[in-house]
């Protein structure tokens, strides 16, 4: 079954096509080459886990995929459309219509409740879930009117996931979504991501430092010093519920 799952996407259309992607921060002495010519294709409906040591360029890569940052050179195409050629307005539209984000530090708006934080996104999405449905998926129905300060870290992260999936995005980009969570809570978050990936066919990319999590992926991409050191198909994909660390 797992074998099949891994092969499932081979014939799917390409979601992302990344070519020669580089990112350089700063100039002269302070120059940091965060990405050094990345080439990678992600297929629709695929769940990819990104691994690699700290500073290897994972977040930078994900941010550029999500249209949060511009590369120094190279291109990223999404569904055949070159997003690296888009202006600010085009990128905004791209993020609004296609992308859901989950950040390591939750980044909830402190002055809005769980429901309102989700509503903030559903209000501008074309065909969203209701905030209640989204929060139900992450099992937070009973905390719906709590403010971020009244939620635990794991709960806040689940709100962030609900917020990301509520618009039924085409791609879900998660930067260390479980980094700050215990294994049980972390698994809950992963299950939610997995569920969206499965049910809506959302392409998902998850950054993690936790090699165990790689087991839930269709493919594992390993970064080292701004380049890809290894891309491997996961032979034995297992559901998030069975992962442990």
């Amino acid at each position: 079954m797992t074998r099949k799952a891994a092969d499932e996407h081979v014939g799917s259309p390409t979601a992302f096509s990344v070519r020669g992607l580089t990112k350089v921060y700063g100039t002269g002495e302070a120059e940091v080459r965060a990405l050094r010519g990345i080439n990678l294709d992600l297929r629709e409906g695929e769940l990819v886990v990104l691994l690699g040591p700290s500073g290897s360029g994972k977040s930078t890569f994900l941010n550029i995929l999500g249209g949060l940052d511009n590369p120094t050179s190279g291109t990223v195409s999404f569904q055949g459309q070159e997003i690296t050629a888009l202006g600010a307005g085009g990128l905004t539209q791209y993020r609004r219509d296609h992308v859901g984000f989950v950040f390591q530090f939750y980044n909830l708006i402190p002055s809005l409740t769980a429901r309102e934080n989700v509503a903030l996104v559903t209000e501008i999405a074309p065909d969203p879930l209701s905030p209640e449905e989204a929060l139900d998926i992450v099992s937070l129905s009973d905390r719906i009117d709590h403010f971020p300060a009244q939620l635990s870290g794991g709960e806040q992260q689940r709100v962030a996931v609900a917020r990301a999936i509520a618009k039924k995005p085409d791609v879900l980009l998660c930067d260390e979504p479980t980094g700050a969570l215990d294994s049980q809570t972390g698994i809950g978050v992963l299950e939610a991501i997995e569920q969206v990936n499965r049910e809506f066919g959302t392409t998902a990319a998850v950054i993690t430092h936790n090699a165990a999590i790689a087991d839930i992926a269709d493919r594992v991409v390993i970064f080292a010093d701004g380049a890809l050191s290894e891309v491997r198909v996961n032979e034995r994909k297992i559901p998030a519920a069975e992962v442990s660390w």
Binding site: T92, E116, P148, A149
Partner: protein, 788 residues
Amino acid sequence: MSALNRKLLRDLWHIRGQALAIATVIACGVSTVVMSFGTLESLEITRDAYYEQQRFADVFAHLKRAPASIRDEIARIDGVRSVDTRIVEAANLDVAGMDEPVLGRLISLPRRGAVALNQAVLRRGRLPDGKRPDEAILSEPFADAHGLLPGDQIQATINGHKRRLDIVGIALSPEYIYAIGPGVIMPDDERFGIVWMGREAMAASFDLKSAFNDVSLSLMRSADKSAVIRQLDQILAPWGGIGAYGRADQISHAFVANEMEQLRSLGNIVPPIFLAVAAFLLNVVISRIITTEREEIGLMKAFGYSNLAVGVHYLKLVLLITAVGVALGFLVGAWFGRAVTELYADLLFRFPVLYFRFDLQIFAAAGGVSLAASGLGALGAIRSAVNLPPAVAMQPAAPTVYHRGLLNRMGLSKGLSQPTLMILRHLGRWPIRAGLTTLGISMAVAILVASLFFFDAVEHLLDIYFHHGQRQDATVVFSEPRDIGAMVEIGHLPGVMAAEPYRAVAVKLHLGARSERGSITGLDGETTLHRVLDRDLNAVSLPHTGLVLSTQLAEMLNARTGMRVRVEVLEGRRPVVDVPVTSIVEEYIAAPAYMRRAALNKLMGEGRLISGVYLQVDSQYSGQLYRHLKETPAVAGVSLQTAALDTFRKTMAETLNIMLFFYVLFGALIAIGVVYNSARVSLSERGRELASLRVLGFTRGEVSYILLGELTILTLVALPLGCIFGLGLAHVMVSNLNTELFRVPMVVAPATFAVSMLTVIAASAASGLIVRRRIDRFDLVAVLKTRE
């Protein structure tokens, strides 16, 4: 409601303290403008309506006596709409409880059905009965000063005859909004009053049957006023006319116009400065607040909100705060404006009716400036925040690059604690922010200095005028010029310690195209009572020849030392002579001109005549002396310096004080608003950093010290700076506030600086305490968990 709008309201609630402080600053700026201009506008339309309704004349003339038939001749002058002839005479009034002589001006009431100008408004009682010659109406300020009511009686000496007058009514007149007696410069309602009597009764008393001695004209819109005045003078010359004049030289009107002009100058300077300062502060504070929202802006963009949507969101927040401030400013400004107008109308001008008008343009301008200032401040900050790629904006602000800086290189940092170093490095890292905060606080000091200084200026002016210049206790005015011997007589009266003669002559001065009505005061060379002072307050001896002008008069005539001024005398043989200006002296009140008395007598072609005497009086005998003077027929009136000082304070100074009170109040509020905001913004900018320090084990005191130490340094730098700016503003005010009636000296007492600085220090301390309390209550966990 959308989640975004809900966020807006919650954020607003979250920063309510700050929002309130910002709104207060705006409200102060706006309400100063609305109040000042609203008051002025209302007073002006009230005055104009009063003039219109009571048919206040355009041209006035007094003469000895002319037959009634002359009236038609006057009416035929081109441009004259209507003519009113009256009998106007002086009388001595005897009011119970007053030792000093009280001067009355008797004015004949128009005959029934006649077209009258300068109509009085009956406030109580009724008009005199034509068959009862002893019935009279009193002017309201005079009646109020003595507590007189219809039904009361007063004694009057009319043309040498003692009579008892029955008061049947109390009235106000547009001609005597300020009643100023002959020979004095200030209205004194206790010692000078208007009395209206029937025409027949007055004609009988003064032997003016079928005759008149006073004319008023109203003119057609198209009339050439100076041509009318010229022709009127020609017609009246044979009948003892002493020169017709327009409203500008009508003393009550001049007074009222002067006060309004002063209000206008004040209004033209202070409120715009307030508004500008408020706008500036707003701009600074708003852009700092937006800057602290950088991460949130990045997050919203990450979700796909467009730059426009994000911009509009924050703009809404800012404009909401501003709108609250503007609305508050409108309300408070209109309310205060109304109250102040009423105060002026009742206490000072005594207008019988009152109209309010608040110009919509002023509202719009004040509101527009505020909204624009905050909008622009916000836009600048929003633009730089949305222009960042969201990934960068969202990064928990990259650690700021600090430098070891000068202190280190000089080896001075050794002795400093880490917190002190943090303060200094922070200031050095954000010099513009520190500079703007300092500028803002110093503006608050400056506003206070520039508002408060005015009280110093008036005190200084009064001190010079009454204690250095005019040191007499009383001024005796003769009804006709008399020989110098009259002074000797008066000098022998009980209680007189010193007496000094003067000669005052009504003149018109011409220089080039300019001409001014006024009077020349002739004084002796070495005087001890009425002294002419130079800039250093030293008494100067008047030169034997030539004219000495006050700065104000010199400015009005554009005269400089050495120029020859044409003096047209308006009394006696009415000579016209060219006289050189020999010097110019600084005088703060009125616009006098001086000559040696001997030279003035010579110019007049007369003997050693005097118009009156200045007296120094032993206060023990003053009652006796004044009773004596009252019995002296040659004495038209006595004016007392203490009364003049009082009325000066009551009228001129009060007019400005009322406004200034509000300016000081608003200035103080602005100061508080600025300082509080600076402290609060610093707190939210650095909340996380400071909370982290607490987590690392720094005490509350140490953490507060880092934030408040910075505020203290900025405040300390701002204080002297603010005093300097304040001096600058005061200079601007002084040069705009000079009028014919008084000049404002440029004097700022040390106490003014002290009070201004203390107010701001107090505002800083209070803000510091509030911020300190917040630091004490830092929820360390929450600060680290979520963003402030």
